[in-house]
């Protein structure tokens, strides 16, 4: 039993890492603009399909798709941002409907271009086992986890130390006060969307290397990212990683100790519990002013 729990915890930790990278972009945009980008999962999916195209058409390693993915996904993110800014009234609510619709369009675009077949990398190196004593994983899972931790750290440092990072936090905290300090909130929000696009590109390419992709996956990714964002609390970047790991470990332990059929229920119960006990999430602060 000890071996089972140990492996489940390790698997959950790695899954949580991948969830965090997927959720990071959504959490950033939500923190800055109070906009839940329901097309975020489709951004990740788009990057994953670009990795597939680069591998299958050019015979390159899918990791080399990153620059192309970043360009394409950032352009898509900028278009979504421009559409969101056209919403004059009740932006928080109407952006939900808008981004949901854009997600459906993106899913169907993916389906139209790449068809409904499932894909995953054919580079065997990614699927090779890494054995650490009693712990087993694939190389791609470890790579995904390490990438996630590194991206969380970079984003955290950027938000804390750089001028634009502080501008993002200022707009997130009090939009009107930030304007008075000479910060252009539109530029800041656009930057948030572009960074979300970069993060989605990394997670999409990693997802293609570690897992199996199909056009309908975008929606499931968005839901997972949304749960983690709420668990973490608004504005907490390390909270995203901790919330994601908590979710991943809870799911894996549920499968091991209870039943695999209850995995999704665990995530939802965890979300419900956190919302009841800590309405601002695990590491969130109260809503912004202005």
């Amino acid at each position: 039993m000890f071996d089972l729990i140990l492996q489940a915890t390790y698997s959950g930790l790695l899954s949580g890492g991948s969830y965090a990278l997927i959720a990071l972009g959504l959490a950033l945009v939500f923190g800055t603009m109070r906009v839940i980008n329901l097309a975020h999962g489709e951004f990740v999916l788009l990057a994953a399909y670009i990795a597939y195209t680069v591998e299958s058409q050019m015979d390159w390693n899918p990791l080399l798709a990153l620059p192309i993915s970043v360009v394409v996904v950032c352009i898509t993110a900028a278009i979504v941002y421009l559409l969101v800014t056209r919403l004059d009234k009740n932006r928080e609510m109407n952006s939900l409907i808008l981004t949901f619709g854009l997600g459906v369009i993106l899913t169907n675009l993916v389906l139209f271009i790449w068809k409904a077949d499932i894909h995953s990398t054919s580079v065997g190196w990614f699927q090779e086992a890494v054995v650490l004593g009693p712990l087993y994983s694939m190389r791609s899972e470890l790579l995904f986890f390490i990438t996630s931790v590194v991206m969380v750290a970079i984003l955290w440092v950027w938000l804390d130390k750089s001028w634009y990072g502080r501008a993002v936090r200022a707009v997130s905290s009090n939009r009107d006060a930030a304007k008075l300090m000479g910060i252009n909130p539109h530029v800041t929000e656009l930057i948030s969307f572009l960074i979300a696009g970069i993060l989605a590109s990394f997670s999409g390419v990693a997802l293609y290397c570690a897992s199996v992709i199909q056009p309908a996956l975008g929606n499931a990714l968005t839901i997972k990212a949304f749960i983690i964002t709420i668990l973490a609390g608004i504005g907490s970047i390390p909270g995203v990683l901790i919330g994601a790991v908590l979710l991943g470990v809870s799911e894996a332990l549920t499968i091991t100790l209870l039943s695999s059929a209850l995995q999704e229920l665990t995530g939802m119960l965890l979300l419900l519990f956190v919302l009841l006990a800590l309405p601002n999430g695990l590491f969130g602060r109260a809503g912004r002013r202005g």
Binding site: D3, L4, Q7, A8, S11, G12, L14, S15, S18, T107, N108, L111, K115, A116, D117, I118, H119, S120, S122, G124, Q127, A129, Y136, S137, M138, S211, V212, I213, Q214, P215, A216, A220, K224, A252, I255, T256, S259, S260, A261, Q263, E264
Partner: protein, 386 residues
């Protein structure tokens, strides 16, 4: 004089038009709701291609009757399937075909039942259909017979069965488990939700707790790959991995050769496809010409369903009973050999003669290995992807 000339011209045109109208074939609208997008899109598209090919073949071969096909994408969503059925019936459909997964079939078949129309499907995963005028050439029992039959022939004493909790997969898994336990085989079930991302905790439980001789998987394509990759990492000490639908196809074999080596899956066809009959050869040739790829068994289901349905429509039209429920009556009289075997329908609307086969991926081929009388190759047993 001028008037008389015009009158003669008009009369000539009218009589020509009248003659032409008698020479034009009767056209019957058939509606098809299938998941062409969404998670079940691969299933829907394969079946749709087979059904489209059957439509073209029927229209080429029939001077008297023509079929006009309306295809609607329901995304496998029950509400959209019902709406699609309503719309196609209002567009004049005399019969409907399609549906997958089971809840989508239920939605559309209920609408067809209310309208008194035939609903034909290849994707209903239940064991009993409660709809009037429902027909299906394949039956869930065919999967159960093939999966359980193969594992019993392997002499298994214990099996861990991992399955999706969706209705169709759960039905198949439960039926397989029952067939095995009835024969004294120890079965441990591991149901999972579609949202699962990592199968290692399940495989590890199987490896450390169950310690079975065989692993069986009933789910969908992306899930099989996730399970097999997890198994490749953890390497449980089993003798074989036996899957249900969607694995033993040329496309899956080409896309995931490393993961699927020696894995078993239900199918109707070996690969390369070997058709013994003239009909089968014609189907394979026409499919390859139209879609530029080899057919798989889902396309066969679509094709045979179309053949049977269109012939019933033609017979009912000849008898003048289309408006009086004649299509359903003609469907019940169906008894013909097809490229999937003999087709008749019992009182529940299923084909009692339907039996699937099992293929095993061996290199770049998929020989049939079960049942013995249909086998085109030998089983690699014990045999695993790693």
């Amino acid at each position: 004089m001028e008037f008389a000339k015009k009158l003669a011209q008009t009369a000539a045109i009218l009589s020509l038009a009248a003659f032409a109208s008698t020479a034009v074939a009767d056209e019957f609208v058939v509606g098809s709701n299938l998941p062409l997008t969404g998670p079940q899109a691969r299933w829907g598209q394969e079946v749709a291609e087979g059904f489209k090919l059957a439509t073209e073949a029927f229209n080429r071969g029939s001077a008297k009757h023509k079929i006009k096909l309306i295809v609607t994408d329901d995304e496998g969503n029950p509400a959209k399937a019902s709406a699609a059925a309503e719309k196609m019936i209002s567009d004049g459909a005399v019969a409907l075909y399609g549906g997958f997964p089971t809840p989508a079939v239920v939605g559309a078949a209920n609408v067809a039942t209310k309208a008194g129309l035939v609903y034909m499907s290849s994707g209903y995963g239940g064991t009993k259909a409660d709809f009037k005028n429902f027909f299906q050439i394949n039956a869930i029992s065919g999967y159960q017979k093939a999966i359980a039959g193969t594992m019993l022939d392997m002499g298994a004493k214990s099996v861990s069965l991992i399955h999706n909790t969706k209705e169709g997969s759960a039905y198949v898994a439960t039926a397989v488990a029952k067939a095995l336990t009835d024969k004294g085989v120890k079965v441990t079930m591991h149901p999972y939700d579609s949202a699962i991302a990592d199968f290692k905790p399940i495989i590890n439980k199987i490896k450390l707790q169950d310690r079975p001789e065989l692993i069986s998987m009933v789910g969908y394509e992306s899930e099989y790959i996730g399970m097999l990759r997890a198994a490749k990492v953890l390497k449980p000490e089993v003798k074989a991995i036996v899957c249900a639908y969607g694995v033993a196809t040329p496309k899956m074999m080409a896309d995931f050769p490393a993961e699927l080596q020696n894995v078993y899956g239900t199918t109707m066809l070996s690969y390369p496809a070997e058709f013994a009959t003239k009909d089968g050869k014609e189907f394979a040739e026409a499919f390859k010409k139209t879609f530029n790829k080899d057919p798989d068994y889902l396309a066969q289901f679509g094709y045979v369903s179309g053949q049977v349905l269109f012939e019933a429509i033609a017979r009912a039209a000849n008898a003048g009973t289309i408006a009086k429920g004649g299509i359903a009556a003609e469907m019940r009289k169906t008894d013909r050999e097809t490229i999937t075997g003999r087709v008749t329908f019992d009182e529940t609307g299923f084909n009692p003669h339907f039996v699937l086969r099992m293929g095993q991926i061996q290199g770049n081929k998929i020989p049939l290995i079960w049942p013995k009388e249909a086998a085109t190759g030998k089983m690699n047993f014990p045999g695993l992807p790693w």
